[in-house]
């Protein structure tokens, strides 16, 4: 028998490509059905817009849907993976912390690709209907909003998924817990409850809340606020990156169980 030789670990680029490919490989049937529905919907909207002669303005900051997609996408990216068990993913010869981040990155690449396609379609629809892609109240910087808002929500949702063994239980538990605490607080007329509610409200509609992140505050005021949008984007994306970093650390090679 000849002497054995050391096998090398894969290059980072190869791991990223493999993960991007895996994240984008959907179950064939459901994917074809979903694609057909989306394409049909886009076609119908396009035909209807052209028939009615309605001029469509391009408001990238109004595309709140992309933030919601970013929030839900980690469910798709991590489908079939036991994040905390003896998962197939962890048997591969890649540092587990890096591997988790590579998988998150792969999902983000698809997210950005999907958003880019949708934005392009929106632009085309605006141009075809005779609309102006540079609407008066929309600054060109806000063209970034459909990309930045899902990035932040995707990072936060990925961090949540990587940090918790049972994300759904946490969500349901939190909602039920909040409901019970708020009801009890109302009954005893607790002052602290008002502070908690005010805090939650500011997280949603405050100057740097989710509204600022997702729509540049166009749902709470008439015109977008680029300054608040930029600050909110930095804050939420920064928080997402830090929490993702910490959550991925739960999966470090040398971490004791």
């Amino acid at each position: 028998m000849t002497s054995t030789t050391f096998h090398l670990t894969p290059r980072t680029r190869d791991v990223l490509v493999a993960q991007i490919r895996a994240a984008g490989l959907p179950p064939r049937g459901p994917f074809l059905a979903a694609t057909a529905v989306v394409v049909l919907a886009m076609l119908l909207i396009t035909i209807q817009s052209l028939n009615t002669g309605e001029v469509i303005a391009f408001h990238p900051e109004h595309q709140m849907w992309s933030g919601i997609v970013g929030l839900l996408l980690p469910i798709w990216v991590w489908r079939g993976e036991e994040r905390f068990g003896a998962s197939f993913l962890w048997t591969l010869p890649v540092d587990r912390w890096r591997h988790a981040l590579a998988k998150v990155f792969a999902g983000w690449v698809w997210l950005m690709g999907g958003v880019a396609l949708f934005v392009l379609w929106s632009l085309a629809l605006t141009l075809l209907s005779g609309g102006n892609i540079l609407a008066e109240e929309t600054l060109p910087l806000l063209w970034l909003a459909p990309f930045t808002s899902p990035t932040a929500t995707y990072l936060l949702a990925s961090a949540f998924g990587l940090a918790t063994r049972h994300p759904l239980r946490w969500i349901v538990g939190s909602v039920i817990g909040f409901f019970i605490v708020s009801r009890v607080g109302e009954v005893v007329n607790a002052m602290w409850l008002r502070s908690v509610l005010a805090l939650l409200e500011s997280l949603v509609e405050g100057p740097y809340g989710l509204d600022a992140l997702l729509t540049a505050r166009t749902t709470s005021q008439a015109l977008p606020d680029v300054g608040q949008w930029a600050t909110a984007t930095l804050l939420w994306t920064g928080t997402g990156l830090v929490t993702l970093w910490a959550a991925a650390s739960r999966h470090r090679e040398s971490r004791r169980a």
Partner: protein, 299 residues
């Protein structure tokens, strides 16, 4: 990377709550060996392999694969390993078998595509099928291709023939033998079917309640464990020392006992106690290993 041990553990212990899964296990798997790890269900076989893959973290002790610490140098250690887990679960159930092979190949720079194709063919795997639609046996075969495809220096196989029909089981063992012949490999294999590995195994480790109670080469095992045909006088009682070794008097003139220990020493002790050893028969690998699993070894 030649000589020495391919797989080593230094006093690894693991507890799940109050249950002790591993208790100070010191595994030594020589390079190039086919080491069979035997033990009853729950003895700690799968946990040992999971610790080596860093899928379970030991509470105490360390493990090495070709000198690479499985925790501190986990990715490098795993790059040396082809692993077949106990459960036939690949994760990516929506992928086609071909897609999964391609995905895994990206992780191993040494992936041998023609060899993986040959193995798939030999195992009768249909690569255009979705992983989710595979039966347990087909999943097992796919796992074996995934484990062998990069010709790893170490194979960690957890019940690799579990779920396979007799024909495929036999083919699997033949392919393992062929793999050994043309690829320098160390195999650590956990199995209940030790008799299947009679022709392959050259080292045996026996786990009982999380403790490694025996670890030796096949030759040493067969020297250490034997079936003793003994003639005993009426009313003969085994000495306390022999009772500890597993000898029981049952009132018959002739008895057969499976005894563990140095053959000459055992014969001397039996003779001194008034018994007459008529014959000592060597045991098959499976029977010899079984002797360490049974608390009562009298036959």
């Amino acid at each position: 990377m030649s000589g020495g041990n391919a797989v080593t553990t230094h006093g690894i212990s693991k507890r799940y709550g109050r249950e002790t899964a591993l208790d100070g296990v010191n595994l030594r798997v020589p390079e190039g060996a086919v080491y069979v790890l035997v033990g009853a269900n729950g003895a700690g076989k799968s946990t040992t392999l999971k610790v080596l893959m860093n899928l379970e973290r030991a509470d105490a002790g360390t493990a090495e694969i070709h000198g690479l610490d499985t925790v501190r140098r986990g990715p490098e250690a795993r790059a040396q390993v082809g692993y077949v887990p106990e459960r036939p679960d690949h994760g990516y159930r929506w992928m086609m078998c071909r897609g999964l092979l391609k995905h895994v190949a990206a992780y191993y720079p040494t992936w041998d595509h023609p060899y993986a194709d040959r193995l798939s063919l030999a195992f009768g795997l249909r690569l255009d099928r979705q992983v989710a639609t595979l039966s347990k046996g087909e999943s097992r075969r796919l796992q074996l291709v995934l484990a062998l495809g990069h010709r790893p220096p170490v194979l960690l196989l957890d019940e690799p023939t579990d779920g396979l029909d007799p024909v495929v089981r036999s083919r699997t063992l033949s392919l393992l033998a062929e793999h050994l012949a043309d690829t320098p490999t160390t195999i650590l294999i956990s199995t209940h079917h030790i008799h299947e590995l009679e022709s392959l195994a050259d080292h045996v480790g026996v786990l009982r309640d999380g403790r490694l109670v025996a670890q030796m080469s096949r030759d040493e095992l067969q020297r250490t464990v034997g079936r003793y045909r003994v003639e005993i006088p009426m009313g003969w009682q085994a000495t306390r020392e022999l009772q500890v070794a597993g000898v029981r008097a049952n009132g018959v003139r002739e008895a057969q006992w499976t005894l563990v220990g140095d053959q000459r020493e055992l014969i001397d002790r039996l003779t001194l106690a008034g018994a007459h050893v008529r014959e000592v028969q060597p045991l098959a690998l499976a029977d010899a290993a079984l002797a360490f699993l049974e608390h009562e070894v009298t036959r």
